[in-house]
């Protein structure tokens, strides 16, 4: 219970600092009446919470699915597909407020379908090892095309595309928050329903089957739902790495490996982390802004290195 209160406190603190802090000074007394707070900071904070939470849950479930605690949702090629979609939209000057997110979303779904199809090699069974390799391959391929397009683009487009690829929540609005609020409950519920069988899957597919899990449908559901979450996150905020890797790890250290507690904790933890990271991205170089993916990478890569050493060191893994 103390752990949950601590996590809730962390989320609250992250939300408050995201709303209070910013390049424009807003007096505390004016917070509720300020237009900046109401139409910029609050929706942006909520979007950070939802995106970070989605990445945390997607990461935790995919790590159980591919049976590798160092998997990141973007390892499965979605970021490459989304990046290609977004860069195409930028290069082709597709207009409209939803052009970019939609193009990224479609790109992510395309990559997901391709990886999924490649993961089904040799029959009807989804092989998580093949899934990982297929994800890396599809990511590299789409990345190559993306870079080719960027290299041919005009300077202004190039900058836009490049910044988009590093993720950012500056596109946040009440509309994007609303879209996420409507969209993410379905994959979240699907993943939560898979929480207990995911515990079994950690023993291996055959032992999980013997304990009563329907392993094939389980793997498909988890892959599709986690990818849907990642695709939505990448569509509204670009590629924000390491949240889906680091957050499940830290929550595992505190909450253990039972997905029924791990998944909700990963949602809140991911939300809090992205909120803090986005606040840093907005405030640190004000009035300009860093892509938030740079902040999460600067924090995430050293942490990843520590975790990698720990994990590869043998003994108690986690």
């Amino acid at each position: 219970m103390r752990r949950w209160l601590g996590l809730a406190g962390l989320v609250a603190l992250a939300l408050v600092s995201a709303v209070v802090l910013g390049p424009a000074h807003v007096a505390l007394g004016d917070l509720t009446s300020s237009e900046i707070v109401r139409s910029l900071r609050v929706p942006r904070a909520l979007l950070a919470l939802l995106v970070g939470g989605s990445l945390g849950v997607a990461g935790a479930s995919l790590q159980a699915l591919v049976r590798n605690p160092l998997a990141d949702p973007f390892l499965l090629g979605l970021s490459g597909g989304a990046g290609l979609g977004a860069v195409l939209a930028i290069a082709l000057h597709v207009a409209g407020p939803w052009a970019l997110p939609l193009a990224a979303f479609v790109g992510a779904l395309g990559a997901m379908a391709l990886v999924y199809r490649l993961g089904l090699v040799g029959g009807a069974q989804l092989d998580p090892r093949v899934l990982l390799l297929a994800g890396v391959a599809v990511g590299a391929f789409t990345g190559a095309i993306t870079t080719a397009i960027v290299s041919l683009a005009e300077a202004a487009d190039l900058r836009n595309a490049f910044l988009w690829l590093w993720g950012g929540l500056s596109g946040a609005s009440w509309d994007t928050v609303l879209v996420m609020v409507v969209y993410i409950p379905v994959p979240l519920v699907v993943l939560y329903a898979a929480a207990r069988p995911l515990d079994l899957l950690a023993l291996g597919e055959e032992p999980a089957t013997h304990l009563g899990a329907d392993v094939e449908p389980l793997k498909r559901r988890v892959y599709l739902a986690a990818s849907m979450l990642t695709a939505a996150a990448v569509a509204v905020s670009g590629v924000i790495g390491f949240v889906g890797l680091i957050v499940p790890h830290i929550t595992r250290l505190v909450w253990g490996h039972h997905h029924r507690t791990l998944l909700p904790a990963a949602f809140l933890g991911g939300g809090a982390l992205l909120l803090f990271a986005d606040t840093v991205a907005r405030v640190s170089v004000a009035p300009r802004e860093l892509p938030v993916g740079i902040v999460t990478a600067l924090v995430g890569v050293p942490l990843f290195a520590v975790l990698l050493r720990r994990w590869m060191g043998g003994g108690p893994r986690g």
């Binding site: 159980a64 049976r67 069988p197 023993l203 291996g204 032992p207 013997h210 304990l211 595992r252 108690p316």
Partner: protein, 273 residues
Amino acid sequence: MSTAAPLLSVQRVTYRYPGASNDALRDVSLEIRAGEFHAVLGPNGSGKTTLIRVALGLAAPPPSTGTAEIAGRAAAAWSRRDLARIVGVVAQREDNLFPQRVRETVLLGRYPHLSLWGAERPVDREAVTRALERCDALGLADRWIWTLSGGEYQRVRLARALAQEPTLLVLDEPTASLDVRHEMELFELARGLVDAGGLAVLMITHHVNLAARFADRVLLLADGQTAAQGTPRTVLTRETVERVFAWPVAIEPFDGHPQMIPLRQLRQPREPA
């Protein structure tokens, strides 16, 4: 016991893996009833594990001929969840991706009894404690899995299968790489579950002699075919064992059970010094 309906019944199954040029199983039958300890023996690659997969409805595609039924219903027709309440399996291998404590991993055995959204109930915790007790592993409950010895680990995995509250236990080489004491403990434990608990046990093993002493019935497989089937005394004759394992043996009775002694292969007599 022989009049009771079989818990598990494999009838004249022939099975070939997709793309393979030989049958992995040919015309094999197997029946297990409550209160029976059934051992499956045979050389490496003789089809023992394939037989278990077919018997549990896990073979994909299903066998071309023959039937596999559990409690009177086609094995493949069971939902995995319903089947897991009847059959507990200790597979040859499993992973430990994440660190777990013994009680946690045994609690996973309650999965087929839990509802989708519901939490573990007191009855589940009691079943876990009971299963640990039966395997003499209650003292291990709070240990981390990775601190267990090989023998302790196997007892814990057996406890997890018992937490499923099955009527049939399937053990696939449970004593591989265990020392004498631990392998005897495991056979005694399995026999005790059959005698006291009325369970049926199906054990794949390489221990011809222990199978002869503990099992009620033995199926000896060779190249996917039944070499012999019946009580240990009828199955484990010198001729049969030598043919199946391609090695000269002597069979000596011990405690009323046939025991196999592998012979040294004939050599040129040494030059006298």
